[in-house]
């Protein structure tokens, strides 16, 4: 793999482009009127400098315009805005609409790929797609069937397309992509199907594969240097992954890469997390199962890993490590440091030095978290509470009352960060579970789960299934916390107007005060929100926009109500099924302040 890359270098493909972050992406990020990446910026802060809508006038917000996507499945991600154009994506079949904001959001072009519907059931947990990216006059779409497409932003014509995986083996995609320099970096899903997952870079220009780096596998596959790639400052050594698996199990090891990616142009490293090891039955895969559940820092030109850190060795609960890595520069102990903050499914909020991978903070960001008593800051290992260990309790034993549930204290719904308050705004799940692992056999292309679980709202709490919190990543403390009836499954947006926005599963767009969390505005959109709030400016006016369309993993349990509402289970008061509050949908709603 590396040899191929060197050849490419020799042929002058990479040399022709300056070794800077992609100019068009940087330009788009610098202009707050636009949004060219799902993550708003390379650092994944989801912070907008727009401040026309602010804490004192947000209460006057009105619906400015709406758009139906024509698809009734879970709508994750958000639209993009580039110049006068808005680009809206849908879940499967992954339609892309180009809307001209100058012409009353007229549909200028529409791209609808033909995908085999047999990919639908291979996708775990609904046919969501976390959206498009823009770079070099192209719209980049990574379809459900793992086809990566570059579309001409003006016309919607296909520049090139390439197949990243094989859905018949359970390889699918739900994620967005990261354009960096002359490449576009993409992940893959399939952890419940025993896929050996990877990240892959393709040339932005022609879709040619540049390199591929696996999460689990041999050193060649991992793209690591046993001497130079570090884990908490120490070289990872030879065969760091395969020696933590029994026999050939790493070949169906999972470690999927379906989350959000961030990039630091100065350090020239990109960051992402890997998912759960396959199967969900920990007894069947002894060892630490490296490098599943791991934060990776890699070089975008070569894919080579600079450092790794495994958060949950030998996962026993399906705590995928794929959530976003938010890059900030903050002072810790009086010293300015390049930080990476990550809210893991396992319920711990981590802050690391992103240059070195040094672990600085690891604290619970939901007080309900009970599977661990905390992380040993030297070894980086979490101390597992025996009672909640599905490994120690063993196969065919139902381990009860584990917090968080498999969907994590937070799932894919991205947090935001405001440099003004130096706080992270985190939509969270407040859900616990019973988990019973048992033996399963592996068939390629078939689910490979191996555990029964049931989930319910965190007992002895407010009875709701979510919280929206503000978090100080420097010390690892909750600043304020707003209870939510359902999991907060939509991505947050922080703005220079000191307002933080997020969507709820009932369908509310909510605006809260960045300092206090006080609710300033809410509006109920037609369907539950699992998408991310975005903002843009058009002809001098700031708009706030969000996709509605309930679904995703949230659409599974929550649609029916996680447990019998009559059964109690420690939930305070009654709560009803989400289906009593909202219905399927697929709509974009854009808000603005009234004229004059």
């Amino acid at each position: 793999m590396r040899a191929v890359h060197l050849l490419a270098l020799g042929a002058g493909i990479a040399a022709a482009t300056p070794a800077l972050a992609n100019e068009s992406v940087l330009k788009g990020i610098a202009n707050p009127a636009e949004q060219v990446l799902q993550t708003v910026d390379y650092a994944n802060t989801r912070y907008s400098k727009l401040d026309q809508v602010n804490a004192s006038n947000v209460k006057n917000l009105q619906v400015a315009w709406t758009f139906s996507t024509g698809v009734l499945r879970g709508h994750e991600g958000s639209p993009l805005v580039v110049g006068n154009m808005m680009y809206v994506h849908t879940p499967f079949p992954n339609i892309v609409y180009a809307l001209d904001l100058d012409q009353g959001s007229k549909i200028v072009w529409k791209y609808e790929p033909k995908q085999d519907p047999s990919v639908i059931p291979v996708m775990c947990c609904d046919t969501v797609n976390r959206g498009l990216a823009y770079a070099d006059n192209a719209i980049l779409l990574h379809q459900a069937d793992t086809t990566l497409v570059s579309l001409d932003a003006k016309t919607g014509k296909v520049n090139w397309s390439v197949k990243n995986g094989d859905p018949s083996k359970g390889e699918t995609n739900t994620a967005t992509v990261l354009p960096v320099k002359d490449k576009v970096i993409v992940g893959i899903s399939g952890g419940e199907f025993g896929v050996q997952c990877h990240v892959t870079a393709y040339n932005l220009k022609d879709g040619k594969k540049a390199w591929r780096a696996y999460s689990v596998g041999t050193d060649d596959q991992l793209l690591v240097d046993p001497e130079k790639t570090t884990d908490l400052g120490k070289p990872i050594g030879k065969d760091s992954s395969i020696k933590t698996w029994e026999g050939d199990q790493w070949k169906t090891g999972g470690g999927c890469t379906w989350g959000w990616y961030s990039y630091d142009p100065k350090l020239d490293l990109f960051y992402y997390g890997s998912g759960n090891p396959s199967t969900w039955n920990p007894k069947q895969r002894p060892g630490d199962n490296k490098w599943s559940m791991t934060i990776f820092a890699r070089n975008p030109d070569t894919g080579k890993a600079k450092w790794v850190y495994q958060m949950t060795p030998h996962d026993e609960w399906d705590f995928d490590g794929i959530n976003e890595m938010i890059l900030t520069d903050q002072k810790i102990d009086g010293k300015e440091r390049p930080l990476l903050t990550h809210f893991d499914r396992n319920g711990l909020g981590y802050t690391l030095d992103r240059a070195t991978g040094e672990l600085l903070v690891a604290q619970k960001y939901d007080p309900a978290v009970n599977w661990t008593t905390g992380v040993d800051m030297k070894t980086g290992r979490p101390a597992v509470v025996a009672k909640y260990s599905t490994e120690q309790n063993g196969e065919d034993v139902n381990s009860k009352g584990i917090c968080p549930a498999a969907l994590g204290s937070k799932d894919q719904q991205p947090a935001a960060y405001s440099p003004k308050t130096e706080l992270f705004y985190v939509p969270t799940n407040h859900v616990c579970m019973d988990y019973e692992p048992f033996k399963v056999s592996y068939t390629p292309g078939q689910p490979y789960v191996g555990a029964t679980l049931s989930m319910y709202p965190a007992p002895n709490s407010h009875g709701g299934m979510g919280n929206f919190i503000a978090w100080d990543g420097k010390v690892g403390k909750i600043k304020w916390s707003n209870p939510e009836q359902f999991s907060a499954w939509g991505g947050a947006l922080a703005t220079a107007g000191d307002v933080v926005f997020y969507g709820t599963l009932e369908g509310y767009l909510k605006a809260v005060d960045a300092k206090t969390g006080k609710e300033l505005y809410k509006f109920k959109t037609p369907s539950g929100i699992i998408g991310n709030v975005m903002t843009y400016e058009h002809k001098g006016k700031q708009f706030i926009a969000v996709l509605s369309g309930v679904g995703g993993w949230a659409g599974i349990g929550l649609a029916a109500g996680l447990t019998d509402p009559n059964a109690g289970l420690g939930a305070v008061g009654g709560y009803a099924a989400l289906s009593s509050y909202t219905n399927l949908g697929g709509q974009l709603t854009a808000f603005a302040l009234p004229n004059n």
Binding site: V71, D126, W280, N398, V440, A560, A567
Partner: protein, 196 residues
């Protein structure tokens, strides 16, 4: 809809309507096979429940009058047969990711507690093995074929028995607690089926 003779159905329904099982009216051998449900069960579907009545049991596996597998619940809903318990576990590993907890459905897959009111055993097995597609302009529902998936097919009867109990309203939204021991035949079949 189960293929039940109307008269038998009416009798059974009448018995139920009279307030849960007058065992005296049932022959001695049937009495052991009668369900003794949670008296507070709220979602009883009389027709489905009557059609699911067990008429015989072979090594812990209950069968209805057509010879199809069915559930057996006793002790006022506190104890269930092995296959129903096993079906609960397998359902919540293999099926709930789409069909929701306790067969309640999701935003993209039907509630099987309702579907099983209408599907008979062979229809159920056909869909489980062969899959199902509803793809049109407003709907993209696709269920995969599980014929090659041992984790599903080796427990097809278990799944059917569990889902049947949900459709009949004989079992609510809960994990079964006490259950009959795993029958030897189930152990042998499982080993055989999962095999190599």
């Amino acid at each position: 809809m189960r293929y039940t003779k109307k008269s038998a159905l009416r009798t059974a329904a009448a018995v139920l309507a009279l307030g849960m099982i007058s065992t005296a009216a049932v022959r001695a051998e049937d009495a052991a096979l009668a369900n003794k449900l949670d008296p507070n069960a709220k979602e009883i579907d009389d027709k489905v429940l009557a059609a699911s009545a067990a008429v015989k049991v072979e090594d812990g596996k209950y069968k209805d009058k057509d010879g199809d597998p069915t559930f057996h619940i006793v002790n006022d809903g506190k104890k269930v047969d092995w296959f129903m318990y096993s079906g609960y576990r397998r359902y919540h590993a293999e099926c709930h990711v789409c069909h929701g907890p306790d067969a309640m459905g999701s935003t993209y897959a039907p509630a099987l507690k309702d579907s099983l009111k209408h599907l008979n055993y062979s229809e159920f097995m056909g869909i489980l093995a062969g899959g199902k597609q509803d793809v049109n302009s407003s709907d993209q529902k696709v269920m995969p074929a599980f014929a090659d998936n041992k984790n599903v097919m080796c427990y097809a009867d278990d799944l059917y028995v569990y889902l049947r109990s949900r459709a009949a309203g004989a079992w609510g939204r809960a994990r079964p607690g006490e259950h009959e021991d795993k029958p030897d035949s189930a152990k042998a079949t499982e080993k055989d089926c999962l095999g190599g």
